[in-house]
C-alpha cells in the first residue's frame, strides 16, 4: 500500500518536495519512523500529522488512499 504524504511550510526545506510517497506504512507511527530515517531533519522539526485533513493526536491506522499531511506551526494572516 502506498501512502501519499503532503509536506508544507518549512518542512519542504527539509524534504525538498511538497509530496512524497511512502510504501507499506500501516499507521502514522510507522510512517513517521520511515520519514525520520530518510529525512533526519524532520525528527528535529516541529509539526503535527493530519490524516484526511483531521489532525491526529495519537497513532492512527492508515487505510488505502489515506492522505497524510505534515503540518508545521501555522503562520497565516
Amino acid at each position: 500500500m502506498e501512502t501519499t504524504v503532503l509536506i508544507f511550510g518549512q518542512l519542504t526545506d527539509i524534504t525538498g518536495a511538497a509530496m512524497l510517497e511512502c510504501m507499506a506504512v500501516p499507521d502514522t507511527d510507522a510512517l513517521q519512523q520511515q520519514l525520520h530515517q530518510k529525512y533526519p531533519g524532520l525528527a528535529a522539526a516541529k509539526y503535527v500529522i493530519a490524516v484526511d485533513k483531521i489532525i491526529c493526536h495519537q497513532n492512527t491506522v492508515l487505510r488505502a488512499g489515506s492522505t497524510v499531511a505534515l503540518l508545521p506551526p501555522f503562520s497565516g494572516g
Binding site: 526545506d13 493530519a50 503562520s75 497565516g76 494572516g77
Partner: protein
C-alpha cells in the same frame, strides 16, 4: 434535529477564502459598497492584515510568500464560520486570505463582519482573526531583501 440559524445561513460547500496575490483596497471598498442595500445592518467591523517590513539581523522583509493546505483550510474555515454564526447575531461575515507573494505594505488578510449593533460585529471579527491565525493550515515565508528567507511564526500578539 433542530437547525440553528447558522446552518441556514452557511452553505454546505466550504466557501473559498483564498485570493492569489495581495487583496486590493478597491476590492475592500467594493465589498463595503455591496452592503448598502442591507439596511438592517448598523455596524461593520473590518480587520486588515498588512505585510510588515520587519528587520531581522539587518535584513529587511520585502514580501511574504503564502502557501496553504487549501482543502483543509477551507473545511476549517467553514467550521469557524458555523461556530461564529452560532455564537454572535451577525448579518454577514466575509474572510479573504492571500496566497502567493504579497509585498510589504500590501494587504494579505481581510475579515469583514456586519451586525445590527456594533458589539457582535467587533467581538466576532476579533475572534475570527484569532481563530484563523491559530487554526488554518497556512504558512508565510518571509522573503528578505538579500533573497534569503525565513518561515514566519505567529504569536498571540500578531
Amino acid at each position: 434535529m433542530v437547525k440553528g440559524k447558522s446552518t441556514v445561513m452557511a452553505t454546505d460547500k466550504p466557501k473559498n477564502i483564498f485570493v492569489q496575490g495581495p487583496i486590493s483596497p478597491v476590492f475592500i471598498a467594493d465589498s463595503i459598497q455591496k452592503h448598502s442595500n442591507k439596511t438592517g445592518i448598523g455596524a461593520h467591523n473590518i480587520f486588515l492584515g498588512q505585510v510588515r517590513a520587519d528587520t531581522i539581523e539587518e535584513k529587511m522583509v520585502t514580501a511574504i510568500d503564502y502557501t496553504a493546505y487549501e482543502a483543509m483550510a477551507l473545511e476549517k474555515m467553514h467550521q469557524i464560520r458555523e461556530d461564529i454564526f452560532a455564537k454572535y447575531p451577525l448579518t454577514c461575515m466575509h474572510v479573504y486570505h492571500s496566497l502567493g507573494r504579497v509585498a510589504a505594505g500590501e494587504i494579505s488578510l481581510f475579515v469583514f463582519t456586519s451586525s445590527a449593533r456594533r458589539r457582535a460585529a467587533i467581538d466576532a471579527c476579533s475572534e475570527i482573526v484569532e481563530r484563523l491565525k491559530a487554526e488554518l493550515p497556512v504558512w508565510g515565508k518571509e522573503i528578505f531583501d538579500n533573497q534569503t528567507h525565513q518561515w514566519k511564526e505567529n504569536t498571540p500578539n500578531g
